[in-house]
Subunit: 389 residues, 2 copies
Amino acid sequence: MLTTLAGRYQRDLYESVLPFWMKHSVDREHGGFFTCLDRDGTLYDDRKYVWLNGRQVWMLSKLYNTVEKREDWIEAARLGAGFLRRHGRDPQGRVYFALQRDGTPAAYQRKPYGAVFMMLGLLEYSKATGDTAARTEAEELFWRIREWIADPRLMGRLAFPGPKVSQLADIMVVTSMALELAAADPGDARYPEILGECIDAALRHCEPNREILIENVGADGKFLTDTPEGRLFSPGHAVEVCWFLLHALRYRPDAARQEKVLRILENSMLFGWDEDHGGLHYFLDIQGRPPLQLEAPMKLWWPHTEALYSLILAYTLTGESKWLQWLERTHDYTYRTFPDPEYGEWFGYCDREGKITHSLKGNNYKGCFHVPRALWMCIDAIERYGSGN
Amino acid sequence: MLTTLAGRYQRDLYESVLPFWMKHSVDREHGGFFTCLDRDGTLYDDRKYVWLNGRQVWMLSKLYNTVEKREDWIEAARLGAGFLRRHGRDPQGRVYFALQRDGTPAAYQRKPYGAVFMMLGLLEYSKATGDTAARTEAEELFWRIREWIADPRLMGRLAFPGPKVSQLADIMVVTSMALELAAADPGDARYPEILGECIDAALRHCEPNREILIENVGADGKFLTDTPEGRLFSPGHAVEVCWFLLHALRYRPDAARQEKVLRILENSMLFGWDEDHGGLHYFLDIQGRPPLQLEAPMKLWWPHTEALYSLILAYTLTGESKWLQWLERTHDYTYRTFPDPEYGEWFGYCDREGKITHSLKGNNYKGCFHVPRALWMCIDAIERYGSGN
């Protein structure tokens, strides 16, 4: 089964997904990447979203670094990295959310994610090219992002009375950056240290009754289940964090914690799966209350890409057949719902029953990232497992 | 047909909708109104949303002023008005978006709508009670809101390069406030003047090919159809603005403009109606591009309440049978989709095909407002029409 899947993912990645982005997203005039692309690649908004530009620089550089030294990939990455370095930050060093096509500032988000993916893109790009200035900027960004997360007022957010909240998304992005820095600089002990803190912090999001990861808990570890935020469960997010934690545990080996993460993964799939219509719910309230998000009942592509890789990783770590059953179920749902064999790439959004609701292939939240990253990681994990590594 | 509808709306308003809110939303301990109520009225979030609190004060005071001097209505309005006046504004006079149950500040929105509905609530409450301080605060707020809309930086929004944008929502809320002030103070010529400016401004949102109102145009009158915002059509919003304009035209009579507004209403229904599944779409792109909003394909309750009243108003103004046909179609869809005869009030959200997606009756955007306002206005318009007024 795994070999068949690897072949399928290989064809999808190199014949459908990457060609779509390479053909339609690269702006050879101003640099950077368009992501608001309709089904057939038609551009419907020429703004450039910093976080998606950073993600695409990361993805193309990563493929160049790990799969094949393709000139077209690194040339596109160079157009993206240059655009981000010229236009991505304001005079105080804060990172914009959106830019006009030519790089004119268009919006802030007051969240750290633009900076996170600019950092990841520049770091991976520097590995590919030896561009030390990009590497230095990436490291500088990492330490600033840690400050911004610790004190969101530095991003222009307003502070209100009430308990300080720990957000799972913040822990995940710090984990993702520290993993890449730890790999880039194996001699620096700070990054494994931070990964240890991230594992601790993420496990404080484990809701004890169901043993799943929820989005928001008090910074003091208390659960905030009186509020919709404190009851919010995003199954895709939970399973994505699980694979980040399994990677982080390579730097802080701990068999009991690995067991726990695997139980959380299984419980997040169980509680997150829609038994009526298949697929992972987007948002759920752990007490069955109505979520405030209107899109809660929809199905999105990215929880499924993250589940595919997490399940393959869990199987390669344990050899337990239950993971293959979950993988088959998730793969079948995903491939019957999202990919578009006609124009390439995947659709991103459908209703609860699996009918596509948006014709787009990219927008301000979907770019050249979750689909190619998951396919590349799945192929890589299956190949390593097959070769005994 | 109209008489039958009026009877239906009476029963719905007084036996189902108002009892739901009077029973579940009033906080007799701290004042103010809860709105995050699940299907049966269970509270799932005890924060108080300033704009929805203002709307409920307005609605209850309006019913007290126009329908019946019911003690329970004005007593609840008093609890809401007092809560807003104690807690709704910061020391600089800006209006919060959300408060904790006890009035502790919880969030700003950097938009004017909290202030708008606080203003409308206090004004109507002052008419009911003769509370001149509430009246003074409402008028002060009106003029400040005009400044905030003219320069959103005063609300903490950041300015970016590019064309200044006129938002249909801003025009609509100024129209709504000026209408109430014009009625409250018939001797003041400033309000009819402002209503004239609002009519001009709203008609600059008329997209010439389809003759519908779109959400965003350049402040210089240019269309911004290169961007998703500049192509955005919200059918419910368009039909809501139409009835506001028809009311505003009472102060600035102009037969040609009334004709135009009625054509816009008809075209907005035509272009906004989902011929496959019935009901009004939530968001459409006028060029058929994918909207950025994930909730675009859903159906929401409030476009349908606004359509019901606009269509009745159009019929009572013209006597043309086409409006009754649209009304029948809209009424049938609305009443087969949203009301909840079991626990009262209406559901608010369903998927494109009309299946309810959220069990809630209220949240941070849905409160005691669109349903009772539309039912009250429909009943009133039908009664006036029947009596020849």
